[in-house]
Amino acid sequence: MASSKKLISREEWEKRLNNVKIRKEDTNKLVMNFLVTEGYVEAAEKFRMESGTHPDIDLATITDRMAVKKAVQCGNVEDAIEKINDLNPEILDTNPQLFFQLQQQRLIELIRNGKVEEALEFAQEELAPRGEENQSFLEELERTISLLVFEDTSNCPVGELLDISQRLKTATEVNAAVLTSQSHEKDPKLPSLLKMLIWAQNQLDKKAAYPCINDLSNARLEDPTF
């Protein structure tokens, strides 16, 4: 079957690549944006000193945000809530979904530590009212409580709630909410750019054979195959 795709040689491709001018300041901004959004304070600080790139957010606020994230990741949910409220009391007051998720995490931690009575009391006092306000919260609450029913939690249908990944999920949500409240975008730009690169390559694949990047970690050009 004859291919109607255009063939672009490595030489031609590299020539075209060289003709695209990208400013150093822009790539620096991308790196800084990544470090800041993900919360790598020290790296951001060092990068600022070395490259002269200004972070688009006050580095002090990153420390606060990272403290919150870490507290959630360690399962210290009450501490995390207090810290968020110190940072910005509006976040949890105007975000019922997030607040519920944090309260749910608290319940999970109580169950994980075998504090059954406390867990039930907590569920009744704090979470049941949320369930009354919102049908989907009620369903989530029931799922969480059902953890108490199973003796072997590693095998039960809702076992994933006890997994560390649940904490990380909540931590990511919290991080995003704090960033948004600081009028900062919650996603770093770099991963989106990489996604766009892969998408563009997929599109071009339909029309041409060209040196493409298959391994993002080294960005090496691989020769076009027919």
């Binding site: 360690c74 399962g75 210290n76 949910v77 009450e78 501490d79 809530i81 207090e82 409220n85 009391p89 509006e90 949890l92 007051d93 105007t94 975000n95 019922p96 607040f99 608290r106 931690e109 109580l110 994980r112 530590n113 504090k115 406390e118 009391e121 907590f122 704090e126 009212p129 306000e133 049908q135 989907s136 948004t180 009028s183």
Partner: protein
């Protein structure tokens, strides 16, 4: 080890700690109160009941002068700062999205103190206070801000000029909440506020942009003068920044920008009228329906404000598959009630005028969907479903085919007649009024479902809007219905009820009652007996009401009712004559003359029709009646109308005169 203890002090214990003399204890207690209530409506309520708000407001008031400069870093000043910050934050949380909390904060006298603290040297204090005030201004209960006072305008400007987001955001919130009249809008414009807001649009942060959009929309609302001053001389430029924001990456910004553009469109015929912007707005709003949060809940309402009463936009929206998309969202189910209500109302607006939209909607087999909405637990949703149904049932094609007169719809609709909410009742009656105009033989379904009896019950309601709408539905129900149905309605209503409704204190009720009689006696001579039942109760009521009709519509319906009676036999015609003339006793003019001289041609037509029936040559008593009418000056009045500009009047006048000449009269 993760700590997840639940050992919290009881609320009453916390409140007593608030009164402690030790500042550190106080700060900790304040912080604990704050942390317990944030996000937790139930806790806010219980703390409220324990008197927490006055307690915290009191602490704020006591500490107001404790932080005088920003330089002290000792323990005492730290405590003082923290007391102010935590108490302001707690008050702000009580006020956040919770009207009872807002009221409590205002009642506790905290408002003036919070305002004062905006000038505090400490940044954290100002931040917390500004946030608390912003929460208050998001509520309808916020105190009205008097923009027309110079001092207040200056203060507002200083807020907007602040670099702190919470403070400039407060300025914008005050405008959005309090600016109502054209005068206030102009005052804000004259003070240069619009320029300031525009600069926040272009250079501000996300929250500043959003706040500006809301404030701008408030200032533009129904004020074409301010809009044109804003948009030109640099024609298009400030508007183009708003148009750009309609394509912003954040959904909330897109929604607020669209809402601002819609306000501009609706207020001023000069701006944003080209098809490009119309199409863009439609597409953006339809796409915003996909947002899972509050933005998606509010999007359909914005869509409604764009298309309501505007056929051109409804057509464009139809072409953009709006109906399919709205339908798709309802089908998904488990909707937030606000969103559900909004989508139903959007569908109502789409179907309000265009048959093409109704056809499209009905082609999607939506009866079950609407029936579900009619039985929703939320009153707003039920009312919206009825309103939507009313628009959809304007489709004459489908009405004639009897599409709506089936149990799927009629049963839940009739149940809504007993709804605890008056607005739901009235909306259900509105939809019913259309559905019962059924040209097939299936009206009996409505009786079987108990609908007719319910309507009669509602005609006795304490609410006048319910009474008049129930009568409207009955009027439509008996329109060209068969005798058996009409007799059923009449025996359920009874002559005494109907006559008292004709004499109801509310004009709208009187009008509908008279129209109901008109439809009842129309068509068959036997039915005319209704008005003579119980010693002519109804006929008498009609006569008395026509004598003192407060608006033309009452006269029109009453005269047509008499006209239908006068189409009967001799006895009927004589009874009408007696009615027309009995009232003349102590008045120098019969209401007949008054009606004939009216500016309202519909009233003239109805009156002349009655005379036509009274003087129709085939009845033996006609000459005698004609003589009486002539003597009362009615015939000469009619002669004067022989060249009336209204065709209906002219034709009927000529009929009367033709009939009178048959008796050898000139």
């Amino acid at each position: 080890m993760p700590s997840a203890t639940v050992n919290k002090p009881r609320p009453s214990e916390l409140l007593s700690r608030l009164t402690s003399a030790e500042p550190e204890v106080k700060v900790r207690a304040l912080r604990e109160v704050k942390n317990q209530i944030i996000g937790n409506r139930t806790k806010k309520l219980s703390f409220l009941k324990l008197g927490a708000v006055p307690a915290v407001a009191g602490i704020l008031a006591d500490s107001i002068d404790d932080v005088t400069d920003n330089n002290n870093c000792n323990n005492d000043s730290n405590n003082a700062i923290n007391i102010l910050v935590q108490s302001a934050a707690a008050l702000g949380s009580f006020a956040c999205g919770f009207d009872a909390g807002v009221q409590a904060v205002l009642d506790a006298g905290a408002f003036p103190n919070l305002l004062r603290l905006l000038a505090n040297p400490n940044e954290k204090v100002v931040d917390a206070v500004a946030r608390a005030l912003r929460m208050i201004y998001q509520s309808k209960l916020a105190p009205k801000y008097d923009f027309l006072q110079q001092k207040n305008m200056e203060f507002l400007i200083s807020l907007l000029n602040s670099e702190k987001e919470n403070v400039s955001g407060l300025g914008a919130s005050i405008i959005t909440r309090s600016c109502e009249t054209n005068l206030e809008q102009k005052a804000l414009f004259d003070a240069g506020i619009l320029r300031k807001l525009n600069s926040l649009l272009e250079g501000g942060s996300l929250s500043q942009r959003d706040a500006s959009l809301e404030s701008l929309a408030t200032i533009f609302r129904n004020n074409p003068e301010v809009i044109s001053k804003f948009a030109g001389p640099e024609i298009g430029r400030p508007l183009s920044s708003i148009i750009d924001l309609a394509k912003d990456r954040y959904p909330r910004t897109r929604l607020l920008a669209c809402m601002c553009l819609i306000v501009i469109r609706n207020a001023s015929p000069h701006f944003l009228q080209d098809i490009g912007i119309k199409t863009k707005l439609i597409h953006i709003l339809l796409e915003l329906l996909d947002d899972p949060g509050q933005v998606g809940d509010e999007a359909p309402f914005a869509f409604s404000s764009l298309i309501a009463q505007k056929e051109d936009l409804q057509k464009l929206a139809l072409e953009a598959n709006a109906i399919d998309k709205l339908h798709h969202h309802i089908k998904k189910g488990s909707l937030h009630p606000r969103r559900y209500e909004g989508i139903l109302l959007a569908l109502d607006d789409m179907c309000s005028k265009l048959e093409s939209c109704r056809s499209k909607f009905l082609s999607l087999q939506v009866l079950n969907l609407l029936a579900d909405a009619l039985t929703d637990y939320n009153a707003g949703v039920r009312a919206a479903a009825c309103i939507c149904l009313k628009s959809v049932t304007r489709s004459i094609k489908n009405l004639s085919a009897g599409y709506f007169m089936n149990e799927t719809i009629v049963i839940p609709l009739v149940q809504l007649f007993l709804d605890p909410s008056t607005s739901v009742q009235v909306a259900a009656l509105g939809a019913t009024s259309n559905i019962v105009v059924d040209f097939t033989t299936r009206k009996s379904i409505f009786v079987q479902c108990g609908g007719m009896k319910q309507l009669v019950q509602l005609a006795k309601s304490m609410e006048s809007s319910v009474r008049s709408n129930a009568l409207w539905a009955l009027k439509n129900f008996v329109f060209q219905a068969d005798n058996r149905l009409k007799e059923g309605v009449f025996s359920e209503l009874t002559a005494s009820l109907l006559s008292s409704l004709i004499r109801d204190p509310e004009p709208s009720v009187q009008e509908q009652a008279l129209a109901l009689v008109r439809n009842l006696v129309d068509g068959c001579i036997n039915l005319i007996e209704f008005v003579f039942a119980e010693d002519g109760l109804i006929l008498g009521a009609i006569g008395r009401q026509l004598q003192c009709a407060s608006k033309a519509e009452i006269g029109i319906q009453g005269m047509y009712a008499l006209c239908n009676v006068a189409s009967g036999n001799e006895f009927h015609k004589e009874a009408v004559m007696q009615l027309l003339f009995t009232q003349m006793g102590d008045k120098n003019q019969s209401f007949v003359i008054k009606f004939l001289q009216s500016n309202d041609s519909r009233l003239c037509t109805a009156t002349v029709w009655t005379i036509v029936n009274l003087t129709c040559p085939s009845s033996p008593g006609a000459p005698g009646r004609l003589e009486k009418l002539r003597n009362a000056g009615i015939v000469s009045q009619i002669k004067n109308m022989v060249n009336d500009p209204c065709v209906d009047v002219k034709l009927r006048v000529r009929t009367v005169l033709g009939q009178s000449m048959a008796f050898g009269d000139n």
